[in-house]
Point group: C2
Chain length 194, copies 2
């Protein structure tokens, strides 16, 4: 067996809470929803809610998955143009999200209902950025870290902007096309500078 009963339970409860939170906040708005309401809907006590999540925000915002290891290696040893190889790496990461597509869209919509939530989301992105920086640093090992950080910020910000802006467009597109759109925007932006 891959998971013990206990583990499966834990995952299920966590998921129950996340879904309860998301659904409630989607209809009512983050600020109007109390932890008590979420707990009740998820069928646990308020105290249990806080056993699973540090605060209300983190029931909505979960950490994005890591970059897949093979894709990372391929990128680090890649010989193509930086932006092209990056595109491949990021697409690989985005594929992982495909299954939760629906929840992710809801999250993005809920984020718009609260400053605090947006901030939490950005904090999560910052963590992703730190991993991302490490990866790019491995490929460009002679470039100062600060520049790599700047580069990563730039890329993630662009992706974020594309994702928040292009809601209410067709929902059915492949989630990885966001990567393409973001990197295209990025390339255009860079032409502005010189």
């Amino acid at each position: 067996m891959t998971e013990t009963l206990r583990q499966r339970r834990r995952n299920q409860t966590s998921r129950d809470i996340r879904i309860a939170a998301l659904e409630l906040c989607f209809t009512e708005g983050f600020d109007k929803v109390t932890t008590e309401a979420i707990s009740t809907r998820a069928g646990v006590s308020p105290r249990t809610f806080f056993n699973y999540f540090l605060n209300k925000e983190s029931a909505i915002i979960s950490h994005p998955p890591d970059f897949p290891a093979e894709a990372v290696e391929a990128f680090v040893n890649g010989k193509g143009r930086l932006l092209d190889d990056l595109r491949i790496l990021m697409r690989a990461q985005f594929e992982l999200l495909q299954d939760d597509r629906k929840m992710i869209d809801m999250v993005h919509s809920v984020i718009r209902t609260s400053e605090v939530l947006r901030a939490t989301h950005e904090a999560a992105m910052r963590q992703l950025q730190s991993k991302f920086t490490d990866i790019i640093q491995r490929r460009l090992h002679d470039v100062p870290r600060q520049q790599i950080e700047t580069l990563c910020s730039l890329i993630l910000i662009t992706v974020g902007q594309v994702m928040t802006d292009s809601k209410n467009a067709d929902d059915t597109r492949d989630i990885a096309t966001y990567v393409d759109e973001a990197l295209d925007t990025l390339e255009h932006t860079l032409k502005l500078i010189p």
Copy 2:
């Protein structure tokens, strides 16, 4: 008279609270300090604290000043290289901060003691970014707004990184040199891309 007594009082109280908050958080860390402690130190009731500030965070993080109008006009009509003109604009904005230099340094230090505070700070930066975007859009009116947003994010992120990274360096440097350092980093970063 430029200000009524009432107005002067209000400004003074606001300042008292901000200073009390900053000093306490600087020594104790943001999370250890209660609004009650801040109020007491500032000599007002806890209820008054919330008449002045929406929450604990905003007693620490205040909105950055607007870009000075003449500098904005000069930039919008500028004919130089984009990055060079930007440098001038941003230096003008940073000059305004020179007086509060000491408090700003403290704020940056306090920000490091709390995720929430960092998030609030970023929200404030996002507001600045929006104004910044408007300005650049006026100069590059035929460029899509999304690209301008990306560009602005990039610039502000870089400045932010430089400012947070280069604490514990010599404190006495002109605050506007951060702008230079950031834009230099930026130019180097851009060379990585093609």
